[in-house]
């Protein structure tokens, strides 16, 4: 019994440890969204950075955005953390983010960033709240061995959607157990559909407040669904039920082509089969426009004890720490060359062409536009996503989805009006939302 009570006292003592970590000046906590390997590399370089800059970085493992909110609510926010565009506006409006203009004015580092990276970190009140920490485009990874065996030429930068579908058809093998295809021609996750939309002519204005579903988008949905209808692509639920991640699908040969982010570190590391990558193709006759993601970045807490140290640390993470170098958000680095020397498999894979095309014809990031960045985005997505899921499950025809657009816009507007009444937002944000509401012309209720 005594021993047990001893254990309890010990437990309370241990539980107490780490209860309150008050960061000392010059010490910055970073809620780091990285895998174990990257964390180990960062950890190794932190002492050297501390020596030259006088700023010590303490890594906090990233355990999800929900936990970040919890830490903020408990007044234990890390100094630096990742935010996406929707979350960033919300947090900025609640006064939780540092306006980076206060620490970065006249800093030459800002000039090293691509202008769209700076622009992408601005919130609705024109404050600068996050610095994009990474960028990527997307492409079609393909199995060279399977193309060879089927006698199909490798795709080039000029291939079209129809050529991709034809290749997928030729590569599909229907001999699996239970009649299921043993190998599908292609797999493209639904989160890349928006990339297809901008690549095929849909335009979502930045800061737009209403959901649009133009004919170009509906066309994309139909062609995307055709991949599943024709049995060239496993449907989304099957893929999730299989318990395989996209790289495994390609590695195990369950699919011959895979639409994924470029570059995709864990994919490149996981693939041991011969592979190449080509740009995601457009429908014939569309002007070139490629997806480039710029939807998230690193933010600094407005409760940081030492804003200058946090800014120094943030700059180092983006532009100094070797894990992320060369970083594509910087304009003065050789990104492609750097990555090719890191991963030999990238040389001659098509990576350079895909990357260059996306820079030359930057179609932007759909996530950056209405569906993901304005005040209306959360209320819209909350209603749109379940419907989209049903479209992908082929339970809701695309035209019926279009019929829901007005209803979604109306509901989103009501929700924004309510949240304006019930939330404590900064005045510049309030003004902006009020203006947005006035411009949210929606069709009257039937």
């Amino acid at each position: 019994m005594r021993a047990c009570i001893g254990v309890v006292i010990l437990a309370v003592f241990v539980a107490g440890c780490g209860g309150n970590q008050q960061s000392a000046p010059g010490t910055v906590t970073y809620n780091c969204p990285a895998n174990a390997v990257e964390v180990a590399v960062l950890q190794k370089e932190i002492p050297a950075f501390a020596e030259t800059s006088g700023v010590t970085i303490v890594l906090h493992p990233f355990s999800g955005q929900e936990k970040l909110y919890a830490m903020m609510a408990a007044d234990k926010a890390p100094d630096i953390f990742y935010t996406n565009s929707t979350m960033r506006d919300e947090l900025a409006a609640s006064g939780r983010l540092l306006d980076l203009r206060t620490v970065a004015a006249h800093d030459p580092f800002v000039g090293r960033l691509w202008p769209h990276v700076v622009d992408g970190g601005m919130a609705a009140d024109s404050g600068w709240y996050s610095v994009g920490n990474w960028e990527f485009t997307c492409g079609v990874y393909y199995r060279k061995d399977m193309f060879d065996a089927a006698g199909i030429a490798y795709p080039d930068s000029a291939w079209t959607w129809d050529e991709m579908v034809a290749a997928a058809r030729a590569l599909t093998r229907r001999s699996g157990p239970g009649g299921a295809p043993a190998r599908y021609g292609i797999y493209c996750g639904s989160h890349f559909v928006e990339a297809l939309e901008i690549m095929n002519g849909s335009r979502f204005p930045r800061g737009g407040t209403r959901l649009e579903l133009p004919a170009t988008s509906r066309e994309v949905y139909r062609r995307y669904l055709d991949l599943m209808n024709d049995g060239l692509m496993p449907d989304l639920r099957t893929v999730q039920a299989l318990g395989m991640q996209a790289p495994q699908l390609l590695q195990t040969g369950r699919v011959a082509m895979l639409v994924e982010a470029v570059p995709h570190q864990s994919l490149i590391e996981a693939l041991t089969v011969p592979w190449g990558v080509a740009p995601l193709p457009r429908f014939p006759g569309k002007a070139p426009a490629y997806f480039r993601s710029a939807s998230g970045g690193l933010s600094i807490s407005s409760h940081t004890a030492d804003a200058r140290a946090s800014w120094k640390a943030l700059k180092w993470i983006i532009g100094g720490a070797s894990t992320y170098q060369p970083n594509p958000v910087l304009r003065d680095v050789d990104f492609v060359g750097g990555w090719e020397s890191r991963y030999a498999a990238l040389r001659g894979s098509g990576f350079r062409e895909v990357w260059d095309l996306s820079l030359r014809h930057n179609g932007g990031d759909p996530r950056f536009f209405v569906r993901f960045s304005s005040w209306a985005s959360a209320p819209i997505m909350e209603r749109l996503q379940p419907l989209l899921d049903r479209v992908w499950a082929r339970e809701l025809p695309v035209d019926e989805l279009a019929a829901h657009v007005d209803e979604i816009n109306r509901a989103a507007r009501t929700q924004i009006e309510t949240s304006l009444r019930t939330s404590v937002y900064g005045s510049s944000f309030r003004a902006r939302i009020e203006t947005d509401l006035q411009t949210m012309e929606v069709a009257p209720a039937p």
């Binding site: 929900e66 639920r237 299989l242």
Partner: protein, 301 residues
């Protein structure tokens, strides 16, 4: 009630519970009631919205309606099935035969293992191509469904999994069965009752209190189903739990998402109270109905 001779000493002894009740139950209940009438993100102070949260939940939240229906379907499927399977197993184990204890262990063990570990196991069992279930079905020539990723089969999948954990219920039935005096059976046999008649006229009334207990506990527990759905139905991204197409979005999971993913604490508090009244109503209804079918020996309760 007499004034009581132990007076203050008595309160001293129950003080741990009393303080805990005030600090961890009664106080938070009042706060929760207040919060349910506010809009609160935890990042900014709460704003009074009156009964708007309740109004929204009851009239203008189709996702809540879905989660409620899911929960009701799950309760209606898993509670009676669980009771039937548990009772069946208990009846088998009640037979006086050698080696029954081994089977008791086999049936009971899954119910006390770690829920998250069990969920990992079943997640893989339900895999449509590499899982145990469809492999077995394939042997008898059935092409199995997608299970957890099928809107139709997702809830039955979770029900099936819950049957694996009926051990606790089974043990309570077993205890009740073993507590039936042998004389009652002998008397019934002398009256010429067959096995079925003995089961209906002796066993059922004698174990009815255990049935009620398991029923009430089962309903309260299944109304709060969370871990399975949370661990098994999402991708790695938070927010995707409860799929496909909200087929496994149960009320508590919805509440968790509102509270700890969206940080809509006021709305979540209101959801908690709605859930509380649902459970209360279900329990009271059970208790009322129980008067008609539960047999208490000597009428004591």
């Amino acid at each position: 009630m007499t004034s009581g001779r132990d007076g203050r000493t008595g309160y001293l002894y129950i003080a741990p519970w009393l303080i805990g009740f005030l600090l961890l139950t009664a106080g938070p209940m009042c706060v929760s009631l207040y919060l349910s009438t506010t809009s609160w993100t935890m990042l900014t102070p709460p704003v009074q919205v009156g009964f708007r949260n309740y109004a929204a939940i009851l009239t203008d939240d189709p996702i809540f309606t879905v989660s409620l229906l899911n929960t009701l379907v799950y309760v209606v499927l898993s509670v009676p099935l669980g009771l039937a399977v548990a009772l069946g197993l208990a009846l088998l184990l009640d037979q006086k035969a050698k080696g029954v204890a081994i089977f008791r262990t086999a049936f009971f063990l899954p119910s006390i293992t770690n829920m998250v570990a069990v969920a990992m196991l079943w997640l893989w069992i339900f895999n449509p191509e590499y899982g145990l279930l469809n492999a077995l079905l394939q042997h008898v020539g059935i092409a199995g469904p997608l299970w957890l990723q099928s809107e139709v089969w997702a809830k039955p999948s979770l029900v099936l999994m819950s049957l694996w954990g009926v051990g606790g219920t089974m043990m309570i039935f077993l205890a009740a069965l073993q507590g039936i005096p042998q004389e009652l059976y002998e008397a019934a046999e002398l009256d010429g009752a067959g096995p079925l008649s003995r089961f209906i006229h002796v066993t059922v009334p004698m174990i009815s209190p255990a049935v009620l207990f398991n029923l009430v506990v089962g309903i309260i527990g299944t109304f709060q189903v969370f871990t399975q759905a949370f661990v098994m139905t999402g991708t790695a991204q938070p927010g995707t739990e409860g799929g496909p197409n909200n087929a496994t979005l149960f009320v508590v999971l919805y509440l968790y998402k509102k509270a700890f993913q969206e940080f809509r604490m006021g709305y979540a508090s209101a959801l908690a109270w709605v859930l509380f009244f649902l459970i209360l109503a279900a329990t009271v209804a059970q208790m009322r109905m129980a008067k008609r079918w539960v047999h208490y020996e000597g009428g004591e309760r």
